[in-house]
């Protein structure tokens, strides 16, 4: 499928499509990946892989344009989960410390408060994290989340609730709340 797709579409059209998709979705995907993985470099890698896979396997004739968004976010989630599995926690911490060292300086009170909360985000399961991010960070409706994650809306609501409940327990145990 991918072979035919690439052989069939003229390169100029594919390039234009890529540009458009990058322009439209890069910010959202980067934010999603960043919050999911808590690391800037990792987010860049993940989004890069997402765009590469988009070029390879997105067949516009097979899928309506409005599903592209769902496809991209679910793909980003899958790639991020893969990344989590591959990368050891040790390496991530190493990166974070390096980034922290390179940090120009404290960004302010709000930033620190957010940090307190977001550092614990990776204690959630990937599925819960996905639903939480899609709902609160990107404002997807339940139907859109259901389509992105291939679950039912009731399931989505349930996951969301568990995610928030878990977060509240974590934050309480860490003394943040």
């Amino acid at each position: 499928m991918a072979a035919e797709n690439e052989l069939a579409a003229p390169p100029a059209e594919a390039a234009a499509r890529l540009e458009q998709v990058v322009a439209e979705h890069q910010a959202g995907l980067l934010r999603y990946a960043a919050r999911f993985l808590n690391s800037a470099e990792a987010a860049q890698d993940v989004v890069q892989e997402v765009f590469i896979r988009f070029c390879r396997s997105w067949n516009p004739a097979a899928c309506p344009a409005e599903r592209l968004r769902f496809w991209l976010y679910s793909l980003a989630h899958n790639v991020a989960v893969d990344y989590c599995r591959r990368e050891s926690r040790r390496r991530k911490l190493h990166e974070e410390q390096a980034a922290l060292a390179a940090d120009p300086g404290g960004r302010g009170e709000a930033e620190r408060r957010h940090r307190l909360v977001l550092d614990h985000l990776d204690r959630l399961d990937p599925a819960e994290r996905q639903v939480l991010l899609l709902r609160l960070q990107h404002g997807f409706s339940y139907r859109e989340i259901a389509e992105t994650t291939n679950r039912t809306e009731g399931n989505v609501g349930c996951l969301l609730h568990h995610a928030v409940k878990k977060m509240s327990r974590i934050l309480k145990s860490q003394g943040v709340m």
Partner: protein, 893 residues
């Protein structure tokens, strides 16, 4: 913070707490959760916690900045993506195999290269070279594979000719076959409805009860075949549609298709289908003479079935089976039966059914159909049906014509049999005497009807008009003003502006169909004139009186509909409508572009999942052949007709239709005919711009329907949800209003609006005249400007409303005198709704550039409406109106 004791058994409501706190729950569920929280302390505590957490999470997640959030996707990475994509194009097999691994690690390695690891640089080159070699190898293999495969699937001309001629050589040796027997069983089953409730007509177009030959049809093209020398050039191969090429039809056989003018590519109607079929059968033209002879012999022997077989279906196979069957009497289609898997019990069932219904002969069925009340299109349809009698035509139709069109043609031919049967079997309202053919208004004209002048009461005391409850002109004007342009004066219909607002009329008491409310006050815009407002309010239908609805949704699927504010809006509107339907309502879905397609058979609205899936799957593209779409819609509605229900076709279109005047005229006639069968029409327009407003209004008028313009989801909600009963359930048809003015009190009068609904005084009691229809709970308002004289104690006149009750079909007339007691002494003292009506009417007249309002401007309208908007501050439509007036005023200067 104290930790609450965790629940041993969590409440069932708990799962919904987070959606409730986020505001995602619908109102009913939210109420239930709130009620639960009032009584359950642990849940309340949990909800408090969750709220606090959300309060922390939301700003944290939504904060745009952050150390770990990169600002943008850097260009160097974009270059990497492009490179990877380019490599993917060059080496497809390899990259898809290694998608998960190589590309994943490679950019990371490059990262380290950038950040200074020298070892990664050398690694970069070798993967690329290995990639290249492997990709070349794979490409070579793929090329060899395709090279081997293509000749087997391609249908080059010479190959097809060889195969066709080989089949024909076999055919030449076959004996002549006996005529076919009873109709093809599975064709019959296709035509019989699933619930078996409708009379089986046996008159499907594929039912070849008669003889298998159709010498009348085949020989017609033959004499007209000119000598090969004079034959027109056969069409180039590229002109042949793909299905012809695949079917083995060569261009030599297509030689005569030019004579019909329309090539086989545009088989838009069943008539053209017949043409196509006959062309295939009879066409000779150039090419080898042996082929020509073979073709003629085939036509004589009606072997078209075999010559159009795909090359796979060798003649030899057919040879054996047919020879075996040739001995049987009247059973040459036994082979067809075998091929189609028609078993004996199916055939028995079909014959049983036919016998049960007393139709033992297809001719009888057609006689029945022919005995139906004559309709203008009967002759054409009967002719079409006759043409479709031949088996080979049916076979050709079945195999080559797209299913949808076949259904359209099929249903059109059978609705002759269905519709009169259904109408006879049911107890519908007695059909009105044959109405005179609708006078086709000149919808090509761009000029509006001229604004009517004041009429002296002494000359004519009667104002007679048909009611209009449409509001499309107001929606369109709203759309235009929102887009920053003034609406075209010709498109402004004052009555539709006035009807777009609710004036709070009380519904009729008792059994009456309508209540008449009249008010008058001096006009603020022109001193000395009096404004008379007459409101007619229809009866509401009680819950138990509501009939089930049988709706056929006809959606325009042409390319012009492909924008979100057209097809997207229609999808939303349909979803709103479906939510509002009850389980016993029925819905069918037709979509049309160049061909009509029945997307959903009539099915109960309870199957919401399927219906919603079909609605969601609609795509747009192609030209707009409105006529075919509407015909299929009406045919589907006729097929699914339920007596006693509200049978209605809802048309959603943007009106950009390829319709000539002749087509539009015939379509209007078809609409008018279907109206007499009891199927109503509602037209919903979407989109702006080149919008054929007049034509669609004509359709709505002819179909006893409303015409609404959906300019936004809010309007769709208003028309399909809030006005659901009014839109779907008609309580009165042919509603006419007559106001008789008292010459002693009214010097002259002028009606505002209703310019294209005027009737003569005699037509008021003429029951054959078609006027408007009113849905349940709908109201219409008419405004007059009067010049008064004489004493205020004199009555102004009498208002009469004459209508046909839909439930019983009887004509009713009610009347109410205008005593003069309804007069308000000053405009400012009149109720807010009256002043609203006056303001709206003046606004419409200003936009229309009517000469009567030349002395005033939009400033006065705004001044009159401002206090109304303040008083009716809860009514959003009034606020919106004021904004529109302000916008129009700004645009005019």
């Amino acid at each position: 913070m104290t930790t609450p004791t965790p629940n041993a058994t969590p409440c069932p409501v708990e799962e919904r707490l987070t959606p409730f706190l986020l505001g995602d729950l619908p109102a009913a569920d939210a109420e239930a959760v709130r009620a639960h929280l009032a009584g359950c302390a642990p849940c309340r505590a949990l909800a408090g916690e969750l709220e606090a957490t959300l309060g922390l999470l939301r700003p944290a997640l939504q904060a745009a900045g952050g150390r770990e959030v990169p600002a943008a996707f850097p260009p160097e990475r974009l270059a990497l993506v492009r490179a990877a994509a380019g490599r993917a194009a060059a080496a497809p097999a390899k990259t898809t195999a290694k998608a998960g691994t190589a590309a994943w690690w490679w950019p990371l390695k490059l990262n380290r290269a950038r950040s200074g690891t020298p070892a990664a640089g050398t690694k970069k080159r070798s993967p690329a070279r290995a990639d290249l070699l492997v990709s070349l190898a794979v490409l070579g293999l793929v090329a060899i594979f395709l090279g081997l495969l293509l000749p087997a699937t391609s249908l080059s001309r010479s190959k097809v000719r060889k195969v066709a001629s080989s089949i024909e050589v076999n055919m030449l040796e076959l004996k002549e076959l006996p005529p076919a027997g009873p109709p093809l069983a599975d064709e019959m089953f296709e035509m019989a409805p699933a619930d078996g409730s409708q009379p089986y007509s046996g008159a499907g177009p594929a039912a070849a009860g008669g003889k298998m030959n159709a010498p009348a049809v085949t020989t017609t093209p033959a004499p007209s075949v000119p000598a090969p020398a004079a034959a027109p050039r056969p069409p180039r191969p590229s002109q042949l549609p793909r299905r012809h090429r695949l079917a083995g039809v060569t261009e030599t056989q297509m030689g005569e298709t030019e004579k019909g003018g329309a090539g086989p590519a545009a088989a838009g109607t069943a008539g053209e289908v017949a043409e196509v079929a006959s062309a295939w059968r009879g066409g000779t033209g150039g090419g080898g003479r042996r082929l020509e002879e073979a073709a003629k012999k085939l036509a004589r022997q009606d072997e078209v079935l075999f010559s159009l077989d795909s090359p796979r279906d060798k003649g030899g196979l057919a040879d054996g089976r047919v020879a075996a069957e040739a001995g049987k009497d009247a059973d040459s289609y036994g082979y067809t039966r075998l091929r189609k898997g028609v078993t004996d019990d199916k055939l028995e069932m079909a014959q049983e059914q036919k016998a049960r219904l007393g139709l033992d002969d297809r001719a009888e069925a057609w006689a029945l159909a022919a005995a139906a009340p004559a309709k203008p299109a009967t002759a054409e349809l009967a002719q079409m049906a006759a043409k479709m009698e031949a088996t080979q035509e049916a076979e050709v139709v079945r195999r080559e014509v797209p299913r949808e069109l076949r259904e359209a043609a099929a249903v059109t031919a059978t609705d002759l049999a269905f519709a009169p049967a259904a109408a006879a079997a049911a107890a519908p309202p007695p059909a009105p005497p044959a109405a005179p053919q609708p006078a086709l208004a000149d919808f090509e004209a761009e000029e509006a009807p001229t604004v009517r002048p004041f009429v002296a009461t002494a000359a004519d005391a009667f104002s007679t008009f048909g009611i209009d409850v449409d509001t499309a002109a107001y929606s369109q004007a709203r759309r235009d003003l929102a887009a920053g342009r003034l609406p075209a004066p010709a498109a402004v219909r004052a009555e539709e502006f006035i009807n777009a607002f609710d004036y709070g009329y009380a519904p009729p008491a008792g059994e009456q169909g309508f209540a008449i409310h009249a008010e008058s006050a001096p006009s603020p815009f022109r001193p000395g004139l009096e404004l008379l407002k007459i409101g007619v309010k229809g009866a509401q239908l009680g819950r138990d009186h509501q009939q089930p609805a049988v709706l056929t949704l006809v959606v325009d699927g042409s390319g012009s509909m492909a924008t979100p504010d057209r097809l997207g809006l229609v999808r939303e509107a349909l979803k709103l409508l479906l939510d509002r339907l009850r389980a016993d309502d029925r819905v069918a879905l037709v979509q049309f572009s160049d061909q009509p397609r029945l997307l959903l058979e009539p099915m109960p609205a309870a199957e919401k999942g399927r219906i919603l899936a079909a609605v969601q799957a609609m795509q747009a593209g192609g030209p707009t052949h409105l006529e075919n779409g509407l015909r299929l819609g009406y045919a589907t509605a006729a097929r699914g007709f339920v007596p006693g229900a509200a049978n209605r076709v809802l048309l959603f279109t943007d009106g950009v239709a390829n319709l000539g005047a002749a087509d539009a005229a015939s379509l209007l006639r078809a609409v008018a005919d279907s109206r007499q069968q009891g199927i109503f029409l509602s037209v919903f327009g979407v989109g702006a711009g080149a919008y054929n407003d007049k034509l669609l209004e004509q359709f709505a008028n002819q179909g006893d329907g409303t015409y609404t313009f959906l300019d936004s989801p809010a309007e769709a909600r208003r028309a399909l949800v809030e006005q659901f009963a009014a839109t779907l359930f008609t309580i009165a048809k042919d509603v006419k209003i007559q106001v008789e003015f008292n010459p002693a009190r009214v010097e002259s009068w002028r009606q505002i609006g209703y310019d294209n609904r005027q009737l003569t005084r005699e037509q008021f009691r003429d029951d054959t005249v078609d006027a408007g229809e009113v849905g349940a709970g709908q109201a219409a308002t008419a405004l007059y400007e009067l010049v008064l004289k004489g004493s205020p104690r004199e009555p102004l006149g009498v208002v009469r409303v004459r209508y046909r009750e839909v439930a019983s079909g009887a004509m009713h007339e009610i009347q109410q005198p205008l005593t003069g007691r309804e007069r308000h002494p000053a405009f400012a003292k009149a109720p807010a709704r009256f002043r609203l009506a006056a303001g709206v009417a003046e606004f419409a007249e200003q936009l229309r550039e009517s000469p009567h309002v030349a002395g005033t401007g939009l400033a006065e309208v705004e001044a009159a409406l401002r206090p109304v908007a303040l008083e009716l501050h809860l009514d959003g439509s009034v606020q919106e109106l004021l904004r529109l007036v302000t916008t129009a005023r700004r645009l005019k200067h």
